[in-house]
């Protein structure tokens, strides 16, 4: 078993120094994610202008895969429209679960492809994306839908 395929340098770096970490003043969309299996919690806050993600930050506690995935996600979706972000979620989800899925054009997110060899850890990587999708689908900052991953 080659752990370095799971814990690639990009993952380790984003775990040690997560980007866009912390709260976001004047967020107008928010969702909380919870993984009942391990107790990990994650909050994603967004600034949506029209249909576009102007800014995004996250906070919470999680493993290296979960933290790095959230950090990479915030970098990847900043500036994207709601539809573009959800389409990217779909691609990342396939990357995590489908051996045949390619990582072309995914940039740094491609580092997550090692996760699919570890089925018990797929939820760690997808939690932030499910949480983001939840915030994008019901962007009422007062509603806090708790999402659990598949």
């Amino acid at each position: 078993m080659d752990l370095t395929d799971l814990y690639r340098d990009v993952i380790l770096d984003h775990n040690r120094r997560p980007r866009n970490f912390g709260t976001l003043e004047q967020a107008n969309a928010l969702a909380e994610g919870f993984n009942p299996l391990c107790g990990d919690r994650l909050t994603v806050r967004l600034n949506l202008a029209d249909d576009r993600i102007e800014n995004i930050r996250f906070e919470g506690q999680g493993c290296a895969i979960s933290t790095a995935s959230a950090s990479l996600m915030t970098e990847a979706v900043k500036g994207k429209t709601r539809g573009e972000a959800l389409a990217l979620f779909d691609r990342v989800h396939r990357l995590l679960t489908d051996d045949a899925a390619g990582a072309e054009d995914l940039g740094k997110l491609a580092a997550l492809s090692g996760v699919r060899e570890y089925p018990a850890r797929v939820k760690c990587a997808s939690l932030c994306w499910h949480t983001l999708a939840s915030a994008l689908k019901s962007p009422d900052a007062h509603a806090v839908p708790a999402v659990s991953t598949e």
Binding site: C38, G39, S66
Partner: protein, 415 residues
Amino acid sequence: MNTALVPSPVAFDVAAVRREFPILGRTVHGKPLAYLDSGASAQRPRSVIAAVDEYERLHHANIHRGVHTLSQEATALYEDARARIARFINARSPREIVFVRGTTEAINLVAQSYGRPLFKPGDEVLITHLEHHANIVPWQMLCEQTGAKLVVAPMDARGEVRAEAVEALMNERTRLLACAHISNALGTILPVRRLIAAAKARGITTLIDGAQAVPHLKVNVQELGCDFYAFSGHKMFGPTGVGVLYGRESLLERMPPWQGGGDMILTVSFAKTVYNALPHKFEAGTPNISGVVGLGAAVDFMQSLDRDAVHAHEQELLGHATDALSAIEGLRIIGTAPDKASLISFVVEGVHPHDLGTILDGDGIAIRTGHHCAMPVMDFFEVPATARASFALYNTLDEIDRLAASIGRARALIA
């Protein structure tokens, strides 16, 4: 002068014990398996595997029903296992042994059959802070149904439950004390004998969750004096899906059946059904017969061992693990009560338990990571999860050294 030879104590032969467990010979990711997750589920010795296999090949039929040979053999095996289990925990009679799916079902049975008809608004159910969810949620459900109140006795910063703190919460409204014998998340051994005596003196019924205790301690229910004692087969080297509720006969007699169906009745008509005698009143439907046969074999296995020597071996493992893990920089042991069973919960600075679990698995080492179905314990220690290494009689000092080395490698990689 008495010249009879006193047998000299035989050193516990862990290598011989390990040969009884076929699974311990396998490798994981090319490394010898170090199974340090017996607190979640213990492995089975050959004798248990053989007993289940022989039952399936030669004796299987439904029990308590047929006059044919197989049904009689299956019934005899099932009831003989009950009698041996009764002797194993020193119950007064096999009628006090109710077979259930596991500890969880046993506790739910008591909540619904004993508590629900009896408890009134304002009555109190007393538990402790370190309980497994299986000894919290059934009582919360009961409290919702009856208006009774759940009262939680505190633990201290070491994860110890002090008897005085529990006793201070016992009053004339307390109807039931339900507590763990050993904490699955921390390893703490609770002062159950004293707590049971204190409860008894106040007329409070007692239930002990013994899931973690039966594999490690000699349990004698008459000596403990508890009213109910619950445990699971798979944590004591038996099969999954079978467990035991011990209940004092006089209490079980007064309790209504929990589930209705076959085997739990004497006569059924549309006008009236007469329930069967103990313990069958609580065993509706065809039970896990092969599981009970396997559990009987697990009891025989445990009784074939010198339990004091097993205990000494497990305490040596605990001591060695405590020393080895304490020496790792950034590692914090969660749960440092003076009286502990052989398991260690811990967190490592900069390394989430899930990453630790994956990296250790790469070295062939199986540990449990997560909240251990004890979220209030995690909240108390302000951690989302811990890593837990739990030891059984077949573990070795060498496996603990491998654990410590692997934790060091994980820290170097992730932190």
